[in-house]
Every structure is written in structure tokens, then in C-alpha cells.
């Protein structure tokens, strides 16, 4: 079965999409990622779509769903590296993916994830990274 690799990186999961997505692939990713979040207790998910050139409404919606599901599983999702053409397409399709955090590249996405986890730990008083 064709699959997109999900890499564990400390407290985070890193998904780098390097192929063109189609409906089945993105649904597989949804299954795979949700089970991985649950298994690894990841606190953040980084989805890198810098190689993605074509999106349709289904893929856009599913990416939104993945972020919402991760939220329910207590993980923050950051979408990084969206290309200008893809951003324009999504906006023209009326999907501005409200509720998903975005960043320009993996570096900035990682910084954003750390920041949001720090904020979360400030609120609860429990640090996620230290035992």
C-alpha cells in the first residue's frame, strides 16, 4: 500500500509530503497519522507540503480534518511550506483552513510548535518535555 512516511522527532511527528497527493493516499495519511499520534503521545504535528503542487477541494478539506483530529487527540498541527499557487487555489475554493496554524518553512514551524507547547505548559504548569 502506498504510504507517506510519518517520522517521530522528539515530541513531534513530522510528515513530509514529497509526492502528489490523491484521494486514497491522503485518507491513508489520515488513518496512519491519527494512530501514530495516539501511540506516540505526540504533542505536535508538522506537515510539510512544500513539494505539493496541486490541491483540490477534497485534499484541502482532508488536511483540515487531519488538523482537527490531531487537535482532539491533543496535538497541535502546523502546516508548513505551502506554495503561492496552492494558497491561491485554496482561497479561491473558499477554504482558508481556519484553525490550522501555518508557517513558512520547517524551521519556523518547529519554532511555532515549541512556542505553543510552552504556552500550553505555562497554563497547566506541567512541562511536556521534562519528565
Amino acid at each position: 500500500m502506498e504510504q507517506i512516511p510519518v517520522l517521530k522527532l522528539g515530541d513531534f511527528l513530522l510528515v513530509s509530503i514529497q509526492v502528489e497527493l490523491h484521494d486514497e493516499l491522503v485518507l491513508n495519511l489520515q488513518d496512519d497519522l491519527t494512530s501514530r499520534i495516539q501511540r506516540t503521545h505526540a504533542r505536535g504535528v508538522l506537515i510539510d507540503i512544500s513539494a505539493l503542487e496541486i490541491v483540490d477541494s477534497f485534499i484541502g478539506r482532508t488536511l483540515g480534518h487531519i488538523a482537527a483530529m490531531a487537535r482532539v487527540l491533543d496535538a497541535t498541527t502546523v502546516l508548513v511550506g505551502m506554495r503561492p499557487a496552492v494558497a491561491i487555489t485554496l482561497v479561491e475554493l473558499g477554504m482558508s483552513l481556519k484553525g490550522i496554524r501555518t508557517a513558512l518553512d520547517i524551521d519556523k514551524g518547529m519554532a511555532l510548535l515549541r512556542l505553543s507547547l510552552d504556552e500550553a505548559s505555562d497554563e497547566t504548569g506541567v512541562s511536556p518535555s521534562s519528565p
Binding site: L79, V80, G81, M82, R83, P84, V86, A87, I88, L90, V91, E92, S96, L97, T102, A103, L104, D105, K108, G109
Partner: protein
């Protein structure tokens, strides 16, 4: 033999006379709109006559699309382009060819008195010159069209410059009315420059936008949404009081987009967002 080579012969024999008559014709007729001196007219007329003579050297047909006329057509195309640049009207440009009729007919008439042959020659020559006149006009219009298109594109490019204000801060000062086509260009150039400059903040300054209606507001919101998808935050600045009133009256919801009155305010907040402060020289020294 004589009959076949009639035009070519007189073009060689009476060249000087034809040229002089033609130049006189041009000067008296349509030259008022032009800025060419007599010398320049003479030059261009002589150049055309020699090309024309080459084309009709061995008999000729009135099918000016044939290879025989390639040189003449190319010459006319070049001439038309030059005349466009020099500011001639299409009428003046076409007159260049049409004024050649009289001198050529005069010379032809002098070359013999065989009425049938002359008639035939006249008719053929008229057809050719008319068609060449049309070529000039169509080339003239083509060049004009090219100039208009180029200027349109330049206008589009010129009015949407994206400037880098600081590391990871870009600004887009919008000037003029926003329509769908321009918004597309604006959006693309802004998003491209976000990638290029790794910008975290993009400031859209609408000081130069005369009116904001629902459509323009919608375009702006789309641009903001697209920039957000790429991971950059947008600030809209330069909102004048009238525009603020219009936006509220129209019931446009700018949502959670940050808006500022001036570009300076927007820059200030952008610098703070990326973790920078601006301070006076003196205060830095005092702090040391």
C-alpha cells in the same frame, strides 16, 4: 519583351524623375502631420523605390503575398514601425504608398501610346499599390497594438511593487483601483515575495486605493487568507476615514485582520511581532 518589362524599365530609366515627383507629391499632400525633413523623405522614398524595383525586375503579379514581394513587405513593415514611433497617423503612413501612384502613372504614360497595354499596366500597378497600402496600414496598427499591450503590462507591473522593509517584513503599497485582474497579480507577487524574503509579516498599504467597495474588500481578504495559509501574517494599513466609514456601512467584516491607520504604525507593530524594537541613539548609549 518590351511590354513585359515595362514597369521595371521605366523604374530604372526615370528613377530620378519619379523620385522627385514622388517627394514633391508627399510634401504637398499628406506631409503636414509628419515631422520628417525633405531629405529624410527622399531617403526613405529612394530606399523603397530600389526595393520595389528589385521586386518587379522580371515581370510581376498582383499577388503580393507571394515570395517575390517578401522584400517589399518586410521593408514596409519596418517603415510602418518607424512611423509609429515617430508619431505619424495611419493616414500619413498610407499616403506614403498611395502618393507613388501619380508619378509612376505619369512615367508609364510617357513610355508609350499603346492604349491596351497601358490600361493593363495601370490596372496591375493600381492593384499592387493598393494592396501595399493596406499592408502599411495593417502593419501600422499591429505596431500600435503591440505598444498598447506592452504599456498595459508595464502599468500592471509598475503599480504592484513589493518592497522589503526589514528582515522578514515586506510591504505592498497599492495604488489605483483594484479589479479582479490586478488583484490576481497583486496576490501572486505578494505571495512570491513572501517566499523569496522568508517574510513573517506582510503589510498591505491601501493609502493609494481611491475607493473600497465590497469587491475590493473581498479581494483584500482573499489575499490575507492566502498569505496566512503560507504562514505569514498580514496587516492592512493606510485606511482613510472615508474608507473606514465605507467599510462599516457596507457591512464588510474584516475579521481578525490587523488594521492600522498608517504604514508607520503597521511597521511598528510588525517590528514588535518579529521581536525587534526601534530606539533613539541616545537611549542606547545611556543603557550601555
Amino acid at each position: 519583351m518590351l511590354k513585359r518589362a515595362g514597369l521595371a524599365d521605366i523604374l530604372i530609366k526615370d528613377e530620378a524623375e519619379i523620385l522627385a515627383n514622388w517627394v514633391a507629391e508627399q510634401l504637398s499632400g499628406g506631409a503636414k502631420g509628419g515631422t520628417l525633413s525633405e531629405q529624410e523623405i527622399k531617403e526613405s522614398s529612394r530606399a523603397f523605390l530600389s526595393v520595389f524595383a528589385t521586386a518587379v525586375k522580371h515581370d510581376y503579379t498582383e499577388q503580393i503575398t507571394s515570395a517575390q514581394w517578401d522584400g517589399v513587405r518586410a521593408h514596409l513593415a519596418k517603415l510602418s514601425r518607424e512611423r509609429v514611433v515617430q508619431g505619424f497617423s495611419s493616414e500619413d503612413t498610407a499616403t506614403f504608398i498611395f502618393s507613388l501612384k501619380k508619378p509612376l502613372f505619369d512615367s508609364l504614360r510617357k513610355s508609350g501610346d499603346d492604349a491596351d497595354r497601358l490600361n493593363e499596366e495601370f490596372w496591375k500597378l493600381t492593384q499592387v499599390l493598393d494592396k501595399l497600402g493596406l499592408v502599411t496600414v495593417s502593419e501600422y496598427q499591429k505596431s500600435r497594438q503591440q505598444i498598447i499591450e506592452r504599456q498595459q503590462q508595464e502599468l500592471l507591473d509598475l503599480t504592484t511593487p513589493v518592497v522589503k522593509l526589514w528582515d522578514s517584513i515586506v510591504a505592498l503599497p497599492l495604488i489605483g483601483t483594484l479589479d479582479s485582474e490586478r488583484t490576481q497579480v497583486v496576490m501572486e507577487s505578494l505571495l512570491d515575495s513572501i517566499v523569496e524574503n522568508e517574510a513573517a509579516i506582510a503589510i498591505i498599504d491601501i493609502t493609494g486605493v481611491p475607493t473600497v467597495d465590497t469587491l475590493v474588500a473581498q479581494h483584500l481578504l482573499k489575499t490575507v487568507a492566502a498569505a496566512r495559509l503560507m504562514g505569514a501574517e498580514c496587516i492592512i494599513s493606510g485606511i482613510r476615514p472615508q474608507i473606514a466609514q465605507t467599510i462599516v456601512h457596507l457591512g464588510v467584516d474584516l475579521g481578525d485582520v490587523v488594521t492600522k491607520a498608517t504604514l508607520a504604525e503597521a511597521l511598528k507593530i510588525a517590528l514588535r511581532r518579529v521581536g525587534l524594537t526601534v530606539s533613539k541613539l541616545g537611549s542606547v548609549k545611556a543603557g550601555e
